[in-house]
């Protein structure tokens, strides 16, 4: 039964990735080219941008126009919100979060990075590493993206020089080694001319690695998900009240870590009751095991009181259960975070409230320096905070689990999403 859902590696899987670059590094051109070369652009879309390119007086088809969505952006000619793009090759399906690069859009970068398995970061070969490039890498690493590709673009402007490429790489490495970057690849490209985007560049025979698309197709991402610590935040309790399922009580949710099997001993947190899994159900019938990111329904041996927001976990590797939260917060709102303020919190499937106890320091996103003695956190700023929640949360540090280790803060009067939080190990 399980193999109806689990599948062999030969079938196309899914890669979610994000792109970041400073204005004019060539991000739109690169994305346009990826879409064009994977035949993800339709004739009428191409016609529309050919027409728009002529109106702008361009003498070539501006592939960058493909990715500019909203009217405000078309008018200003820049990307100001996260946009999602879809393309596929025979080996993989891709969801691309296209995020703007300017410092004032840090919050959009954070948003795009939150769901990505891989980050593509553009660097302009003719300008080298900039403050912006460092910030992009920092944010991607903070958000726990396991795979990084640094695309050194516009190689045509530097005569496809291996020295320039090597220099940029060695300029960048000291900074990168200070961050948590598990897997890092540098690729020299020309988005405009297509070198090393899909096909190997004839202009850079000295580069022996894969072109970008081939790299994206083969990065192993399933290995990134934790299969050790079993976690299922309960979203919804299924109680049919129908004759044929009179006693059915199913706990529906998404597996966010580990593997869950019938017979496994589990604990429901924060309550702490222990029982065993009776069955792992789906609409297509019961299955032998469930793993991330499957949505399933668990039935349990004992009738215990579990409701939305509780987390079903393996008894061996338990998450932390606490009301005291140590976190890094990215601020998304124009009204600042200030100590003493209460916010609504959404963590996994639980809604609660929390008060900001302490703002320990602000992180300078360009230098990584810690500025202490700060009074508030403004839009696009990132800082280290201590929170106290109104109810205990069952969580893991973010670096162990990106789902059970993240939360959002919501302003209780405007209902705006104002903060993105990453949970850290508790202080002892």
């Amino acid at each position: 039964m399980a193999d109806r859902l689990a599948t062999v590696a030969s079938k196309a899987d899914l890669l979610r990735f994000s792109t970041a670059g400073s204005v004019d590094d060539g991000k739109s051109t690169l994305i346009g080219r990826l879409l064009y070369e994977t035949k993800s652009i339709f004739e009428d879309q191409l016609e529309a941008i050919e027409h728009a390119s002529r109106l702008q007086g361009a003498d070539y088809v501006n592939l960058a126009l493909l990715t500019d969505g909203l009217r405000a952006e078309r008018e200003q000619g820049i990307t100001i919100d996260v946009a999602y793009r879809y393309f596929s090759t025979p080996t993989r399906t891709f969801i691309l979060a296209d995020t703007p690069g300017h410092v004032q859009y840090t919050r959009n970068m954070v948003t795009g990075a939150s769901t990505s398995d891989l980050a593509v970061i553009l660097v302009d070969a003719s300008r080298g590493i900039t403050e912006q490039s460092r910030r992009h890498v920092f944010i991607a690493s903070l958000l726990g993206i396991p795979h990084f590709v640094i695309c050194v673009n516009k190689m045509d402007l530097v005569d496809y020089s291996d020295q320039v490429f090597a220099q940029i790489r060695s300029d960048f490495l000291p900074f990168l080694s200070r961050l948590d970057v598990p897997d890092l690849t540098f690729i020299p490209i020309s988005a405009l001319h297509g070198d090393n985007v899909v096909d190997r560049s004839v202009n850079m025979p000295w580069y022996r690695g894969s072109p970008l698309l081939q790299h994206l197709e083969h990065v192993p991402v399933a290995a990134d998900r934790s299969l050790v610590d079993a976690r299922l935040p309960v979203q919804w309790v299924i109680r049919p009240h129908r004759n044929e399922h009179r006693d059915y009580r199913g706990y529906a949710g998404r597996v966010t870590g580990g593997v869950l099997r019938p017979g496994d001993e589990v604990v429901a947190l924060p309550g702490g009751f222990t029982t065993r899994i009776k069955s792992v159900d789906t609409f297509d019938g019961p299955i032998d095991e469930a793993f991330p990111p499957m949505s399933v329904t668990l039935t349990l041996e004992d009738e215990i009181d579990i409701s939305r927001g509780d987390m079903i976990c393996s008894t061996r590797n338990r998450p932390i259960v606490s009301q005291d939260l140590e976190a890094v917060v990215c601020w998304l709102s124009t009204s600042p975070l200030t100590p003493g303020k209460w916010y609504a919190v959404k963590h996994a499937a639980r809604n609660t409230r929390a008060v900001v106890k302490d703002l320990c320091y602000r992180i300078d996103v360009n230098s990584l320096d810690h500025e202490s003695a700060v009074e508030s956190l403004g839009l696009n700023e990132i800082g280290r905070v201590t929170l106290r929640a109104a109810a205990p949360l069952a969580y893991d540090p973010y670096h162990r689990n990106r789902t059970t280790g993240s939360f959002i803060l919501i302003d209780e009067s405007t209902n705006e999403t104002v903060g993105a939080g990453i949970l850290l190990e508790p202080r002892d």
Binding site: A6, L14, Y84, Q163, P220, V259, A344, I408
Partner: protein
Amino acid sequence: MVLDSAILTLDERPPRQRSASARYSLTHLRALEAEAIFIMREAAAEFERPVLLFSGGKDSAVLLRLAEKAFRPGKFPFPIMHIDTGHNFPEAIAFRDRRITELGERLIVRYVQESIDRGRVAQPKTPGASRNRLQTTTLLDAIAEFKFNAALGGARRDEEKARAKERVFSFRDEFGQWDPKRQRPELWGLYNARIHPGEHVRVFPISNWTELDVWEYVAQERLDLPSIYYAHRRPVFRREGMLLAVGEYMQPLDGEVAFEEQVRYRTVGDMTCTAAVRSSARTIDEIIAEVAASRISERGATRADDRFSSAAMEDRKREGYF
């Protein structure tokens, strides 16, 4: 200087996890399905009065199957609502009634004609004018009537440029309006469902699906669809490069000639603005082959109302369109 390979690994992951990875991996379609089920359950749990919008098309067929996957053996935690423009393909209505009976769930229908009769909207004067735009008022009235605070729909981000940026939980103000510049940031799978009375949220469980994904899912799940999705012969005429069906509400104007053609539909909406494409695909596999090879986007080929300008969709969405 020759660079060996530009790859370096600063931190090797434990080999145990690597070897297990192939076994514990989902196809892209299973991953999209799991995400959609997750979104539906979030919507059901977070909102007191959700509703599932039904359009009669393939996206609705997919949503209904996803709802079964999310909530069976329980009942759906929401009714299903159809905004009827009156200009329906009879096949779509037959499909709707068939599916609702099978599912045993509650259907609500609200009619654009009633909005016209009550003077809420004006019937456009031009012959064969689309009622697509009028649906917005009927929908918002129905949302107010039932005090719905979440409406689940089948829109996808690949359909159109403005939609590429729309959130999965997409906030609507008290007038049903969407403000693309004031969208709530949406991180991880943490959807913000907090609203004030009178406001609502549109929820799009298949945001991340493409047209091809939808067809592959129809094939994988062997979903029933209105028959007009498959190639059939019918009288059509050409208008602005598109093939429109001759029918009760649509007649060729002067200079337009009706002829018979073998066609199928890629979307099913209001008859007056949904165009057919020439096709001989009679099975799902043939359709998938055709879609995979297709070089015209779904909207460009079949929606007359998007042709006015590239900002047409954005404008309608601002007003509260689906």
